[in-house]
Symmetry: D4
Subunit: 214 residues, 8 copies
């Protein structure tokens, strides 16, 4: 892929055998494939596939992703920090992690920031001080990304999560409040962990590239 | 009024002379009247009214309220704290103040909290430590009420303000995020300074009443 | 918890074993935990937990809550009145009751007010005359909170319930009409019994505190 | 018109001279015309029209209607009751009155019901006891029609009015809550005084017709 | 019930045994009860109930209603016409029929009007010429009620049905277009067959009452 | 333009002098330009432009369009029928006409169809029997396009118009009901007369082209 | 059917035996029937039907359609091109194909255009150069129809597909962006493959008819 | 400002003299201030201000921004590319440019990309080959950002613009389609040129910083 995003397939809504066929085709063509939102039925079929020798098959049950790789990952290129406000945000945050790692980035994670309260946020951010880009996942009222964007120099990607019931639930309040935020940040769609992770890796990789060049 | 909320009239959309007539009727019946969302045209007519001797006429230009009073205000009864996240939130916050004072409360104000950053919030809250209820006005992403509710013991009323453009603008994101907040707080409608101020005064007054009884 | 809301966990969407682990951690740290929106599967796992000796395990099947307590509840502090307009509103009203009681309040309940017609409302409110705060649950058109707020001196929290089909169903009409109400009341999100109960208890407790002080 | 609704023209958005031409054409064809939502500019042009001799020209400034009639109104046929919850609802209620009277009905009005509180509603309804149909106009939370429908035997038409700011404002909360109401009532669109009045007259007239037949 | 609508219970969302208890209580109090939106599980429980001797138990599987009656129905009182645009609209139309009959009306039905094309509408309407009120059910774009209202003298109640996929589906387009209609008609909420039927019966009964009086 | 749609400029929101410059550039490049939604201020500037000799300047005040042409129109190519349901729909229908004529089509118009009632529709459609495509403009409930599509063989384009107040107003109900229609038709956006006219001309021209070829 | 659209039945939401009865009635009347959105249960019943001798029964599992035909299809009449942006769009595209073929059109298909990138679009369009109408199916952001409409002379029908999660998901973004497109195209509702296919065939057939006439 | 975004003030909705006071305060504190969405009235007041000696006052009339600077801009740090799809998108694109330049970036602009067609995009992107981040502004259907993100290696920020009428107008379709895009990109709110420009500069500056370090 000329712009360097790994081949990814959204499994949701795809027929099991179609999914397998497309996945193997991608794998053959490019040496790797990421499959997102994999159901347990689809997983069985993917596991049973006859892969090329020395292929790696990685299933992340929280992220509901499968990565198949016959070639090596790109070399380490940049650092991505991923924060999640609560337990419910972890699956989406993990989806972001899988793709960022697949793009060769080192990923730093902090998944219990919101629960622990703001006083726990500062040491987290210090541990992440040299990250090139931040993905911050948050559901319900979605405040965390704006707070982080007010505290770090690196670009922050707001990742709204479809938690919360009632009016503004399902990620809507989170997305709206990130779009209205007074902090400087950008957003992806609700639950779009794949996009957030790939975007962060794009930023990190580009910077890493420059460092190497010089 | 048997449940102790002062007579209030929403001037918006009312004919000038109708407004004057209703206002004077209320004044006569109860000894005071609050008129909200008064246009400059309506103000002229209200000012020209022949009031009972010793009446007080108070115009608050930021809140766009007029208070007319022929009797005394109720005696000091409770303390209400009002915070606003930014300059644009002041008119609505002031509307809340006018009604809370009219109900006999002492009002503590801090209107540049959001602008100043969270580090300025702590000294504000300390100055307001003995408030019986908090009204917290915030537009755009509307985060401040949830932050305050996580820090004070008294009940917090979230007051969304119709600022912000684009998706979630006009107070929608603010209202949604307050409703989705993990903090324990309640909300009133967008720009409903009157309701927020009267509700806070209800809480404060009831507590003051108990203090006096004992 | 320094602002006195008991530790609460929203079970919905949480993995069974994660839920158990978080619950026990909270219990250990603070001496009690409230778990809301518990599924029957989650309940089985919670019941099977090895609790500290002398712990109390309370399951409220209508509210779908579990309370686990190793320390005593706070002493009686204030009175909260909870009204529900109809049978469908009871689960949410009960969720409010559980948390208010856990915060040490005495709770007065009337759950068939709307069904019985307005003439039955007056004796209800008389029995509740000394309540410090009212939670009023109502679905469909959500009128009851405004009616109550027009009749009592204590603050009223409107609690919209997700009943009703068609346009405005699922609690939307109820929330909207509470926000538009001419009465002075505040609201929480649709089905947010936890927030309504905790907020009412905050008001009641604060008043009780003052009474004791004097 | 074979189904007995008088010719009516919605002036809003029509060119002045087009409006005049259409109005005169209707007048000539049927002996009368109702023009609704007339702007002051349009009024001037309508007033300046050369009408057939003995024509009646009636302008209702609150309703913003013009009625022109060269033939007599239909004979008295049925009784329509019109209630309005507040001052802001009067223009729309008046639009309903104009059309109902034009259809030959006797109209009973009560326009300050909501302001006066529910205790004033009972005497109003007693004075209207023999009405054949009720139009009940209400803005903001729009509760009044459901209350009336729970108290009278005749059919009630809910007429939501575009008052109220914030979420659910502009008549949306009123319409939604009427649609969700537990009472048996039907609704027309927000501000559709014309439709409500004509529908009530249809009911009243039909009944009157039967009375005469027998 | 003093305003003459029979006791009705919305079964949806109610616990089986609660439903049974409430139903029997209503039956005892008033001599009849209508239960709507009954699930097959709930039906089993209702069928197994020990009813008073000589009670009638009527299950309408299309309407998903159960009627239990220990007293006689009111005497024949008025005629209600019910039209449905297509097969998918029949359940809702039948719900309307059940309640109208329970209120003592004679019901005339035509359920394949829309499918057959407008040329089939005219003979239908002729057969229904002496109806006192029309209920017209229609899903998708919901045109039929406006067409009927343009052709008959009696009042027409538009009953939107939750058919149709995509934007405007689920009854939204139907409701909106009935509200926007140039014809004079009123509407009830989507799928609210009960309300439509009871309202039509209210009109019909009132007229019949007058006929009898004279 | 290789796919044969004439150059068109949406004037709305454009600076006067920018508009003039772009218009002249288009005119020079292609020999003609259509400018839509022209304000009266913009018109003055366009009129004052120095055009190439023999240019034609056509202003259609109802459609608010300006056409400038230095070359000849394409030869007569196909027939487009345009219907409008009411007076308020004419400006949008005229916008469609201007572009269809500019693309070389003969346009047949009927603009008072809806007002006149369905019995007047049949003779209209007979006069339009040999049209290659129909544009049917309708506001409020937007029924007319579906009716026409059920009666003619040629393809029908539904053109919703932004009339109507209240819920579903501004063209929303019209668009939704066209999308939900049981008839086979396609739609363009609300008020998009330009798109509807150009699309109809595309169909008509293509057919005319085939006729000529053979 | 006088306007030449084949009889079609939406199976969704219909009772199995009702569906069978209606289908056979249509078949008998017109010699063919198309049944769309057929569930596997309904399919079993349809398969078991006793059809007239020499009837053809065609099940398209991707499109979820059943066609039953006792008469011959109309003779070849025009060419329809159908494009789909991705795998998820195929079922809806196939539904369009089934109806277009049933109306006698030759259908050209390209179903992996979006996945392959724009460079693959050009050869596709060349193979489809003589198509009389294009149906272009696209989910998520729905860009493909506008791109195609900018490249071909024949009319393009945008067919939004209900893929995509988060805000704008379920086909909403696709429909909105087609309606906002700067290209000249028309749209049908989300997932309305039947309407798109029938409309394209209407265009194609009409043109073919003209070719034959000459 | 410790995270390096220049002080910016949203003039919209602010009182003239308040605006002036806040602006001068910021200027004094930090040596520069950006004021966005400045009305012509506000501009007059700002122009009349007594600035510190050697201050620079820059008004960008298209962007409606005012920059006042008493200190030097940061040194050149990174390259930001800004593309706009059409003339209507220029004001928002310019707002992005002003802030990016103020943050020390070199800005490359191409503002007529969408109008010129995709074939003109390639040379644009070549001229911008070494940009560190792209801001792509687009209204109506908002396609351009996804196209660019599919062609360049640097991160792309989608900037929806509030153009377009009808359903999906005002930037909604643009925002939705960017959120649904299969390309990897992030978005800011509708018309949020300031946020887009500042975010791009954050990326560019960070990369430039790394280059210098090495
Ligand atoms: N979870 C995901 N969320 C958003 N986009 C995704 C996701 N997974 C894959 N994609 C993207 O969606 C594109 C289309 O997916 P597909 O439908 O599999 O062809 C892929 O090329 C990915 O760029
Ligand atoms: N600014 C305001 N916002 C919300 N409610 C108000 C406001 N001002 C007055 N009210 C309330 O609205 C009620 C009805 O107002 P009116 O339309 O004047 O009868 C008053 O009794 C007040 O309780
Ligand atoms: N039913 C509920 N509704 C709303 N908030 C709740 C509910 N149950 C718990 N919470 C709150 O949600 C917060 C976050 O929950 P958790 O996702 O478990 O970390 C808790 O601290 C509670 O304050
Ligand atoms: N204020 C109104 N609200 C709703 N419908 C109206 C109103 N005034 C007139 N109408 C109806 O709208 C139809 C179309 O009006 P017109 O646009 O004047 O042809 C008339 O025949 C009336 O039945
Ligand atoms: Mg969160
Ligand atoms: Mg704010
Ligand atoms: Mg209720
Ligand atoms: Mg009202
Ligand atoms: Mg229908
Ligand atoms: Mg119309
Ligand atoms: Mg797609
Ligand atoms: Mg654009």
């Amino acid at each position: 892929n000329r712009i360097g995003i790994p081949e990814a397939i959204l499994a949701e809504g795809k027929d099991k055998s179609d999914l397998l066929a497309i996945s193997l085709a991608h794998l053959e063509e490019t040496g790797s494939v990421i499959i997102t939102r994999v159901s347990s039925e689809q997983l069985v079929v993917l596991r049973s596939a006859k892969l090329p020798p020395k292929s790696v098959f990685e299933h992340n049950p929280r992220a509901r992703t499968v990565v198949i790789r016959s070639a090596d990952r790109p070399a380490q290129a940049g650092r991505v920090a991923i924060l999640a406000a609560g337990t419910a945000d972890i699956p989406v945050a993990e989806e972001a992690r899988v793709v960022a790692e697949e793009m060769g980035c080192q990923v730093l994670r902090e998944y219990d920031v919101g629960v622990a309260g703001i006083h726990r946020l500062f040491p987290c951010l210090e541990r992440m001080a040299d990250a090139d880009a931040f993905v911050v996942a948050a559901g319900r009222e979605g405040t965390l990304p704006a707070v982080v964007a007010g505290l770090v120099n690196a670009p922050v990607i707001g990742l709204p999560v479809s938690t919360g019931y009632g009016i503004g639930g399902g990620g809507k309040a989170a997305l709206y409040s990130m779009l209205q935020s007074c902090s400087v940040l950008t957003v992806v769609n609700v639950d779009a962990g794949f996009v957030a992770g790939a975007y962060a890796a794009k930023i990190a990789r580009q910077k890493a590239h420059k460092e190497k060049q010089s």
